[in-house]
């Protein structure tokens, strides 16, 4: 079996963000982390591989040398077998082009499972897994909190509005990871050393034979939403009730 897994870097959610001069993206000098949902996808891929002898795991990222560093340190150092970087400007590609790039890599690699984070915590679009599944004509199981793989099928429990849904998908399939899927492991020192020697391919978008490399959605401007102001600190429950009643008229 072969599993393809995503390794996307995102800006640190606690970093103070500044809008770039062209107004279309954030300024470059922020700290980056591996997308937390990709960490869950990587952990899930490793667990499936550990339970199924002979499984190969491949991490894919789109970006530049910095992204390559995240593929090595975030995925290969944790135990993923090899890496693929597709060179592209992260700022200007949309979810749809990412999905088509992934589809191009899937056609080269023929994995049985593509495991992605359910969303990247910068763009927050929550689209790529679903788009990819449709481009491939594959079944999907998004927002996974539990995955069991056996006999060419995956039984996936999904976190949805109102509770938990369980689906059985026939492989090959796309699965997107939710945060409660697992606790991502840390890379060991030995893992970090090994990662430097693991196979790593660098591809250009042109290598993927895409019919079209345009985007469908463009960010035309970023703005800072008006923030909330801190209100008052009340001294006790009685004052809170009185304010909620007479001032806010909320109860």
């Amino acid at each position: 079996m072969k599993i393809l897994v995503s390794a996307k870097r995102v800006s640190d959610p606690n970093a103070k963000l500044a809008i770039a001069k062209d107004g279309k993206w954030i300024e470059g000098d922020v700290e980056y982390i591996l997308n937390p949902f990709c960490e869950n996808a990587i952990e899930a891929a490793l667990q499936i591989a550990e339970a199924n002898d002979g499984t190969e795991t491949v991490a894919i990222g789109i970006g530049d040398d910095e992204t390559a560093r995240f593929i090595r340190q975030g995925a290969l150092a944790r135990g993923i077998d090899r890496g693929i970087l597709v060179s592209a400007e992260e700022e200007t590609i949309d979810s749809d082009l990412i999905a088509r790039i992934y589809a191009g890599v899937v056609h080269r690699e023929s994995p049985d499972i593509v495991l992605l984070g359910k969303q990247a915590i910068d763009g927050d679009s929550n689209q790529v897994g679903q788009l990819l599944a449709e481009y491939l004509g594959w079944p999907q199981a998004t927002f996974a909190s539990k995955i069991e793989v056996a006999d060419g099928k995956a039984i996936v429990t999904r976190e949805v509005d109102g509770g938990l849904e369980t689906l059985e998908v026939t492989l090959p399939a796309v699965i997107t990871a939710d945060l409660r899927l697992n606790e991502p492991r840390f890379a060991s020192l030995a893992g970090i050393m090994k990662a430097k020697k693991k196979p790593f391919d660098e591809l250009e978008i042109d290598d993927l034979d895409l019919d079209d490399t345009g985007t469908k959605v463009q960010v035309v401007g970023l703005t800072t939403p008006s923030g909330r102001k801190a209100g008052v600190i009340v001294k006790d429950v009685e004052e809170l009730v009185q304010k909620l009643r007479s001032e806010a008229r909320a109860i």
Partner: protein, 321 residues
């Protein structure tokens, strides 16, 4: 001129209010760009949902009623919705950014060759779609450059649309989704049993954090009962098993904007704020005065929740007689 197709959300045979929030966006879109809107109701035994939508000014209510559509399997729903859009000439497909909408709509977008904008909170004056990015720390204005467009709508950003009277015709859709769904089998649904209002529809929400531990229910439920409120939770409380996943409010959970929001023993991490900071009135109760939740709260009470919340519950109960 546009023709907008609105994916209706429903549960147990009843229309869900998020459909009407989505309709509010569709009406804004049509007011700006001209055109009309239709509803799409997918599912099984959904006649009552279709009937409930007849009075909202749609050109038609299209109903794909089929046993294989009983559960919202994305490959099947995505195909039926795209085929319907093509057959009626709809160039815009919109749905709520619920877990169903998030799951299904991208597949429809691919089938229509459409770009998709997720989680829209406004239509800007210049016709761009405003959407929260980076956990809502920035708002991105996005344009979709394809002729066909797919949009998911953040329900809490739009007031539910009112009925306009009239009676839109109901039109049956001949749908055979069996092929598209054949590699996916529905196994089970483990639903959260609750007589409380839906988080997305509640006027008041009582949300608890990890600090409530195994007394999460004991603290939040009596207050929610006395207020007729829904119960929510921080991610940490859900991670630790004190509350079900359906309760999670935040960047990657549910996004809510009720009239009144109680954040109890919730620190106020940026990811949680992303899901509730547009609430009208926010009350924070936390024993640590330094927590970031107090920076967004209209009323803050620095106190032990185990003592303060039962007292608050008793006082509100007394007020309401």
């Amino acid at each position: 001129m546009s023709k907008v197709l609105i994916l209706a959300e429903h549960d147990k045979g009843a229309l869900k209010k998020v459909t009407l929030n989505t309709l509010a966006f569709a009406r804004q879109y049509v007011a700006k760009f001209g055109g009309s809107y239709d509803f799409a109701v997918l599912g099984h035994n959904v006649g009552a949902v279709a009937t409930a939508l007849q009075g909202f000014g749609a050109g038609a209510v299209h109903v794909a009623d089929h046993a294989d559509l009983a559960h919202p399997i994305a490959s099947a729903w995505g195909k039926v919705l795209a085929d319907l859009a093509k057959s009626i000439g709809a160039d815009v497909v919109v749905g709520p950014a619920s877990t169903t909408g998030k799951d299904v709509l991208p597949r429809t977008a691919v089938r229509l060759g459409a770009g998709m904008a997720s989680d829209i909170i406004a239509l800007t004056d210049s016709g761009a779609f405003a959407r929260p990015m980076w956990a809502g720390n920035l708002t991105g204005n996005v344009k979709i450059s394809t002729a066909n467009k797919v949009i998911s709508v953040r329900a809490s950003a739009f007031d539910a649309a009112e009925a306009t009277g009239g009676s839109s015709p109901i039109q049956a859709v001949a749908a055979d989704p069996a092929l598209a769904g054949s590699r996916v089998k529905f196994v089970s649904f483990d639903g959260v049993q609750s007589s409380r209002p839906d988080l997305a529809e509640a006027a008041i929400i009582v949300a608890g954090g990890r600090g409530l531990k195994d007394r999460f229910g004991a603290v939040t439920e009596p207050l929610a009962d006395v207020l007729g409120a829904a119960i929510g939770a921080s991610r940490a409380a859900v991670d630790d098993g004190f509350a079900p996943n359906d309760y999670q409010i935040g960047q990657t959970g549910k996004v809510v904007a009720p009239q009144l929001y109680f954040a109890i023993a919730i620190s106020g991490a940026v990811q949680h704020l992303a899901g509730m900071k547009n609430s009208k009135v926010i009350v924070a109760i936390n024993k640590n005065a330094d927590e970031p939740i107090f920076k967004v709260a209209d009323y803050g009470l620095v106190a032990d929740a185990f003592v303060a919340v039962p007292e608050l519950t008793a006082q509100i109960k007394a007020l309401r007689g």
